[in-house]
Amino acid sequence: MYPMEMEIVDPVAATGIFQFAWALIAWPLLVTAILLLAGKASNSWGHLLGVAGAVGDFVLAVVLWIQMIGTEVPNRAVKVPVTEWMTIGTMSVRADLLVDQLSILFALLVTGVGSLIFCYSIGYMAHDPNRRRFFAYLNLFIAAMLTLVLADNYALLFIGWEGVGLASYLLISFWQHRNSAALAGKKAFLVNRVGDLGLLCAMFTMFALFGSVNFNQVNHAISGAPATWITAIGIFLLVAACGKSAQVPLQSWLLDAMEGPTPVSALIHAATMVTAGVYLVVRSHAIYELTNAASLAVMVVGVVTLLAGAWVGSTKDDIKKVLAGSTMSQIGYMMLAAGIGPAGGAFAIFHLFTHGFFKANMFLGAGSVMHAMDDDTDMRHFGALRKVMPWTFGTFAMGYLAIIGIPPLAGFYSKDHIVVAAWERGPVFGVLAMIGAAITAFYMTRLMMMTFLGDKRWAEGIHPHESPAIMVGPLVVLAIGSAVLGVVLNNAIQVWLAPPTGHHPHELAWYHVPWQGWATLLLVILGVAVGYLVYRRPIAFDAPGKVNPLVYIGRNDLLADKFNHLVFVRGGGALASGIALVDDVIVDGAVRSLAGGTKGLGGVLRRTQTGYSRSYGLTMVLGAVIIAAVLILGRLG
């Protein structure tokens, strides 16, 4: 089924501008340090420096990208030596960077979408006294994310992996005076630790088998490893990807992560960080090509999550949580594509790229709506915002059309390829991916109907208004990206990504749509129609108390919190008290009874110590008699 001989691209040594690729990481890190150390002194100019952190990086990334386009294809993967990190015996880990087609694409996405979101944040966080700290954390995130995607080995990738986890934690609980935000941050941190365990186990296994965690060396050595261990590494990496990308069963943190400021949700929890799991799987494609079981597991996780996310998205009333469920669902599509193998990897990144645009666009649009509605997120209190917020509505509509996959917008192409690839891998996956597309159309239509169309259901004293230009500008740019990127990148991206994903592209014309594409489009139109007909009716201001079980489960995040509470909190507690009981009864019991026995024996023996010298004498005589008897009997025997 899979081609056994893989083409592994060996990176060439860095020359020219590539030698300075480390500045991509160093510059935002420097900005973070300045903003955090300067403190209140930088309040007046901190946000401008913060934006410069992202924009400067974007410029450098574009320069590197242009340089790479000018390079011949075999020499496009570039190794940038930075420093020796650690040497233990004969084993050495270097902190080097790898700039290739995949990582430069990520760098462009992170810094490009990042720059827009940074600009937007100037307006969104204008009234927050801690705006400077917010920009410091955002820059920390950019530095960590670029470390993640530019690392040339799993150990350095892990540093970035933890770094984005830290930045995510800091930003989710940015408004830490709200208890729910503090709790959500902790939850995200804890669930991510479970995934980290997977990545650590994968690294340990690689060290044990190959003595190296360098991507290139692992890719070369992997085919010689025992099949069981290849599968194990694949599963470990999948666990890591599940944690970071909020895939079932480690999805529960993403919905709570919406407690963070909306630009954070857009940048970290929609466009970039949560897609790190997809990056990890695509980057490790050489491993997954050799293990059918692990790549099948990736596909199953992807399909389950794309349906679970759509389910959650269909039931929530909170606009950000609908978008969060939708993010889970779209990342599920990417995981599905990444699990398909070389043919899917490029499409996974394609969808990741377009999703980065249209989802960031919609999150920022939701932020704009919240800004207008006095930070209310309940869609039941919206309605009819189309007229008062025309720019937000227009840009949001582009994102909406893109995500449900209306041609010729971006989502149509990227999702279409995944559906076709899934269909070729197995009809079950293809059908489920199509159903997911229909549900996506339904819940996004529901969101549009409840937010922008229909009747006014505004709370008293709310006077919605369009957001300032600094917020609308990024929305427009992202909306244009959502509209045109599909056509622009449709064929180019898979040719571009062919070397790092091991894919042999075939020509994909933007006007050619296979039958699966038409079928999906039909289902999408059906979903839109159902959504329109259902939510055309008046919507209650308050959520109904009694709902059917499907809605109930969706509203409660698929009962994941209840499950975790029951199994891990209560179960873990029971296990701990069980162990405490064993310690108390058996271990302590043994020690205590030994002490008690010795004491009791002492109490008995103490009585022989009478103080009467005659009784001592008797004891001595008896002892002597016994010894004599033993001696005599021994002599006789």
């Binding site: 110590q609 009478t610 103080g611 009467y612 010298s613 005659r614 004498g617 008797l618 005589v621």
Partner: protein, 99 residues
Amino acid sequence: MDPNAYLILSAILFTIGVVGFLTRRNALIAFMSAELMLNASNLAMVTFSHVTGNLYGQVGAFFVMVVAAAEVVVGLAIIMIIFKTRRSASVDDQSQLKY
């Protein structure tokens, strides 16, 4: 000369000493009984020396005598002091040393 007679005498003396030590309360009598046991063993050792034809037993007897003499000095002094302070020479009255 039959050495068994000496050994039997030694055993009789030792037994008298033991019984005396265990039955009499008076410290001086107990002391005398202890001396009797020591001398019974001396007699046995001298007899063995005679039987085996070397001097080891006799040397041992001398050692016992020397130690017994020293013991008498210390022991009698203790008994004197106890009698002076407690007006009693009964060994059963002197049971506080267990503390």
